[in-house]
């Protein structure tokens, strides 16, 4: 190195010689460095390198392994995604089907409720009919008791009175006559006598007297 310094101090004397000398010095340096490097390389650092290489290899292997695993994971994930996606679609379809079913049931329910209401009003109508039949029944009962009363009391009583009248007068009347004409027959013991009186021409007591004339005062 002292040679270099010496060279540099004397530079202005011989430029090219100095340069060559400088280059020569540089090559020397390189050589020395090369040697030093070779020495270094050939020294114990080789183990370190080998170690480094091994580590590097290990890292590489790990990387490959990791990549494999990650790829697998991603693959599985893709599969899962696919199946999940499918599941989602299935669920979507199921949901739509349920919606349709629900719609159907809603409609069914509406129909049933409508039918129920119709049946209700039919029942109401029928109950009304039954009620009016029961009323008719009551009316019938009333008529029946009127008939019963007539049959058991009113008619017998009227018949009795008619019988008494006949017993006393022996007269039977004709009814299809004009209003002022009194027509009938008196059934005497031997004789049947017709009666024909114009009541407008006579006084009441006069008519009565004549009719009573048919009833004998003889005991």
């Amino acid at each position: 190195m002292s040679v270099a310094f010496t060279g540099m101090k004397k530079e202005n004397v011989d430029a090219s010689g100095a340069t060559t000398m400088a280059q020569g010095h540089k090559f020397q340096d390189l050589e020395e460095m090369g040697e030093a490097l070779l020495e270094y390389v050939n020294s114990t650092q080789t183990d370190k390198l080998a170690l480094m290489k091994a580590e590097h290899q290990a890292l590489f292997d790990q990387h490959v392994e990791t990549k494999k695993i990650v790829t697998q994971i991603l693959k599985e994930e893709a599969q899962i995604e696919e199946s999940v996606g499918q599941r989602l679609l299935d669920m979507e379809e199921e949901k739509q089907q349920r919606d349709r079913e629900l719609e159907g049931l809603e409609q069914q329910l509406r129909q049933c409720m409508a039918k129920s209401q119709i049946t209700d009003s039919e029942l109401q109508f029928l109950k009304g009919e039954l009620e009016s039949l029961r009323n008719a029944e009551d009316q019938l009962e009333t008529l029946q008791s009127e008939v019963d009363e007539d049959t058991t009391e009113v008619i017998p009583s009227a018949v009795y009175v008619a019988q008494v009248y006949y017993l006393i007068t022996k007269i039977k009347w004709e009814y299809e006559t004009p209003p002022n004409i009194l027509k009938g027959v008196h059934y005497g013991t031997d004789l049947a006598t017709p009666i024909n009186i114009d009541t407008t021409a006579r006084s009441r007591s006069n008519v009565s007297d004549q009719l009573w004339g048919f009833v004998s005062t003889e005991w």
Binding site: E92, L105, L126, S157, V215
Partner: protein, 186 residues
């Protein structure tokens, strides 16, 4: 990118959860609806049964009623017709013969006239409406008994004994009438 994927996947699972819950709700709605429908159907069935019952009742009642009605109506008509004729006769006797017969009921039910009242009108020419009454009772053996007369007739007891002797009601009444007339027209 992994993070984004993670987020997407999380959303996916959330969606699935939502769907799941939704589906469960829908299923329970369906069950409910089905249940409601069954209830309504059984209600309807009950009501139909009720209907049938009532219809049967109505049919039966209508039939019975129709029969009864026919019978009752015809009986009533016959009764009323008979009564009408009996009434006519009674009126003619009442108005023209001038004698009304009244049956007076005792406390018990009418037994062929426990008492008979004979109401004479057309006796007094100046007051045709005024009434002359004689009341008789009929005993269990059928014998007549005079109860009273209005106006009073002095000869009534004599007439009563003749009546009881002969049982001749027509003659008795004719004589009573004669007495009333002689009282009224003298």
């Amino acid at each position: 990118m992994c993070l984004k994927k993670c987020k997407d996947d999380e959303m996916l699972f959330e969606t699935i959860q939502t769907f799941k819950i939704d589906l469960e709700q829908k299923n329970s709605s369906l069950k409910e609806k089905q249940h409601d429908i069954s209830e309504v159907i059984s209600e309807i069935q009950q009501k139909e049964m009720q209907k049938d019952e009532i219809i049967q009742k109505i049919e039966k009642l209508k039939e019975e009623q129709a029969k009864r009605k026919e019978l009752i109506v015809s009986q009533n008509k016959a009764n009323k017709d008979r009564l009408r004729n009996l009434q006519k006769a009674r009126l003619v006797f009442q108005d023209h013969l001038g004698m009304e017969i009244r049956t007076i009921l005792g406390k018990t039910q009418l037994v062929k006239g426990e008492k008979l009242q004979f109401v004479f009108r057309n006796i007094n020419p100046s007051d045709q409406e005024s009434a002359y009454v004689v009341t008789l009772g009929i005993k269990e053996d059928g014998a007549y008994q005079i109860v009273s007369s209005d106006p009073v007739l002095e000869c009534l007891p004599a007439l009563e004994s003749r009546l009881q002797e002969t049982n001749n009601l027509p003659a008795f009444l004719a004589n009573v009438r004669k007495e009333f007339i002689s009282q009224a027209r003298s």
